[in-house]
Amino acid sequence: MFAEILIDIARGIPTTILVTVTAFLIGFFVGIPLAVALRSPSAFLRLPIRGLVNIVRAVPILMWLFLLYFGVAIGAFHFNPFSAAVIVLGITTASYFAEVYRTAFDSIDHGQFEASRSLGLGRFHELVYVTFPQVLLVALPAMSTFSLTLLKDSSIPSIIGVLDISHQTTAAARSTGASLLAYSTSALYYLVLSVAVGFAARALTRSLEKKVR
């Protein structure tokens, strides 16, 4: 029976990874314009984004999931569990990364902005080629820590029916009756994945450090 449970729950691993990675990528990219807006001198741009980021961070993820999954119907259109999960976790990640990028931006030497201006780089190129790689280097430790949180938070959408590790665990616990074994196995899988994410984050940090320095 142990082998059966082990295999049943393992079927959720690809979904858990897919949800985590997709949400991370959404957060990675959407966080950039949000961070730029949070540093904007214009209050019209800064304050609404500041409010949005704070509200996203103050309200539980499951609450946002329910709102999107049960609450939003545009005509006959409904979000399916997977897209609701990816959108909510992506926006949560983006709000967090926006704060991380913002503080990292503040740590960059002013000379970098002036140098890229004097080289005739436009604002966009300055961001992409000069400042953002440096921001990333400062932000990476916080981002790696958050990616572990994100991996664990990716279990929350199992409640609305995303077929991840957590969902397969509940199913296996019900069908076999060996619930302690099932939930312990699930805990084990999350631990192994956490270790893997930790390794990946360290490898990524090292390779980026080589490039930038």
């Binding site: 103050a58 539980p60 709102l67 609450g71 664990k152 957590s166 939930y183 312990s184």
Partner: protein, 222 residues
Amino acid sequence: MDLWIESLPDLFGGLIVSLQLFTVSTIVGLSVGFLLAICAMSGSAIVRAVTLVVVEIGRGIPVLVMLQLVYFGLPSAGIRLDSMPAAWVALATTTACYSSEIIRGGLESVGSDQKEASRALGLGPATTFWHIIVPQGLVVSLAPLAGFSLQMFQATSLAFALSVPELLSRAYDIGSLTFRYLEILSLAGILYAAVGLPMLMGVSYLEKRMNGTRLSRGQNKN
């Protein structure tokens, strides 16, 4: 709007349950976390190793899995808990494991010059620990602990999976009866924000204050 007025007392009752879950699990969790932090700094290598393994396992398990493990899993080992105590145990365990690392970080940040100074003043090890190390270490831990508490307040919503009648469960129940999910969930969201936003502001206030003092001094030292 009528639905909001009608269901506000019910949701408010749910918010009280959420806050109760949060308070109980935070008080128990922080106390155990403090003990774990002391064990993790113990002179005995075995105590240290066992504590670190327990803490790392506790931190690696998602809160939802922890809740389900305690409520659905433990009965097959003969331990049967009602949903509310099960939620207390699960949330307190997660809080203990996370906070122990935060508290340990704070205690270890107190410089060894403090220990030497108190030894020079003739203070015993216990007095040094409780009156010199702990007060300064906890101040350093305050901002990260507050940030973590906000996460744990939000994690009370996961007790939905155990049918604890907290805020989100009640909103969901009303939604499934009336099919007006958007309205009722928005009201629940406002209630969550009413607690979460002041907490978030408190956290950023603490972070700002800490950055101006101890933390930056510590960074300069290294």
